[in-house]
Symmetry: C2
Subunit: 310 residues, 2 copies
């Protein structure tokens, strides 16, 4: 079962699982995910798509009925800004979906879960963050929802003899973006070819990872045992400033004369963590290495967005 | 406002606040709390008691209407075993009450919250646990609910310019117990005066703190600034084994010939953390020192329970 399997990351995971001959049951409420993301597989008899709000009790019934061999729980709100305005979004879509997954697994007797977590659970922390970093002080409701979800995963796996693989990753880019800076910049600059207004002063520095590199890490991580819970930080190599990204968008669209206007704040929006650095030695010690660095991941993603406009 | 103000800890906090001349609004669903705990103050015009399920939207309205100067958020499930069986208990009573408090404060423009957290958020961790300990891997749904709650407190205070004082404490004892080992042992041995059966092998070693010492710590901690969130570990001196507690109960009741029968497991129930040690140097550096050590706190609590039976 892949929750959020019609989403940006989910759809590419589903493609991999199907290619490996697995039967895949996608559960998605299509709030951010899109049916078109699974278009090429919809006739594959090994793919089942259930459109459902996972917070409903019917989801538990579905899990009990389906009894999947393994759950990839990717369903979540991924729009951090939206979560600050509509504060039920992360509560329902990020946290309560996880409670439902764990409770469904307990009732169904399903043991293994792979959970997509985030660097946002660390909040604003200094130094190279390892998986056992403390304290955890999220500054966004997205980060809070994910940390709350991890807390419940931890309790369920310890109480009910389950196993969990948790991957904490920052900004993921690639094809099929649903929102975010690249998605936004490309569309806005395409609309007004003369100028692009950027939130914040452009110095925000973040490591971007390509979705395919992330999936490589997840597929490798879950080959290792979880006793009962294993956490992996995953991030690409290097980092990219918002300024660099804006310039790459400008170059990608070919609007040489466009002016990029920056704000004054060192962060894009409330809850945005302006800078952080990640220690990924644990997943790297298994042999994982991203094929694209942060800039290459951003470039590939911009290219895919620009192609969609043409 | 004191949520859970009719409960074991809450009622004694309310008494202190009233004695200091404060107006107190208690919100309690009386699921564990009892009206009798506030009996001697019910005629005090400075006390208002609202019996309400805080998960209902009316709680937000109440907060907006009341606009308290400060919120002490103590409402929670405190029965760890019950939370494992009825898994909505901690979700609703421990976690969602906290979400409601933070959302209510945001809507009402209330800035300051004191939150009762727990050592259970650390899970089974070695060494002397400091406030910035990581990783946090709760093994009970009670611990998960409290960690999830802390995550939301963190995000709200960072996003909306609030301030939070979080106190993480382990087993609290004293008068007005509603459940737990002492409550249970005294009643069971009083019923069958010949034998007391104890879950686990009796070696579980835990630091007990007297409720009045805890309240001293909270009252001292909140005199210090929170920028925007300050976390304090609070625990008494020394620790008490279940075996010692059972012997003290036997002595307290005076049933010299009673046989105490132990189980074989090193923990009392699933989710129980058998041993942990706490670094409380942060709260101690402010000058706090418990008046009773763990054994004295347990003895005082047993005495109060025995008196209730006579």
């Amino acid at each position: 079962m892949v929750t959020g399997g019609a989403g940006f990351i989910g759809c590419r995971l589903v493609a991999r699982l199907l290619a490996a001959g697995k039967s895949v049951h996608v559960v998605d409420d299509l709030s951010l995910g899109r049916r078109e993301n699974l278009q090429e597989h919809l006739n594959n008899p090994k793919l089942k798509l259930t459109v459902m709000d996972m917070c409903r009790p019917e989801f538990i019934d579905l899990m009990v009925q389906d009894k999947p061999g393994q759950v990839f729980h990717l369903a979540a709100n991924s729009d951090i800004q939206k979560g600050t305005t509509d504060r039920n979004t992360d509560l329902n879509n990020t946290f309560l979906t996880t409670f439902q997954v764990m409770e469904g697994m307990k009732r169904a007797g399903v043991r293994d879960v792979v959970f997509a977590s985030t660097s946002a659970i660390y909040g604003e922390a200094d130094g190279q963050l390892k998986e056992d970093h403390g304290p955890l002080k999220p500054i966004s409701l997205y980060g809070a929802g994910k940390l709350a979800a991890e807390a419940y995963v931890s309790a369920y796996v310890h109480l009910f003899n389950m196993r969990a693989w948790i991957f904490r990753f920052p900004n993921v880019v690639g094809p099929n973006l649903t929102h975010g800076a690249i998605y936004d910049f490309v569309r806005r600059l395409h609309k007004d070819k003369t100028r692009l207004t950027v939130l914040g002063n452009g110095t925000q520095l973040k490591p971007y990872i390509h979705v395919d590199d992330l999936l490589d890490a997840i597929q490798l991580g879950i080959t290792q045992p979880a006793n009962p819970m294993e956490v992996y930080n995953v991030a690409g190599e290097g980092a990219t400033t918002v300024r660099e990204m804006a310039e790459l968008v400008k170059a990608g669209l070919g609007y040489k004369d466009a002016v990029i206007e920056y704000g004054t704040s060192d962060r894009g929006w409330p809850g945005d963590v302006p800078k952080f650095a990640y220690d990924t030695s644990k997943i790297r010690s298994l042999g994982w290495k991203p094929k694209r660095n942060s800039r290459e991941a951003v470039e590939a993603s911009i290219k895919a967005e620009v192609e969609k406009l043409r």
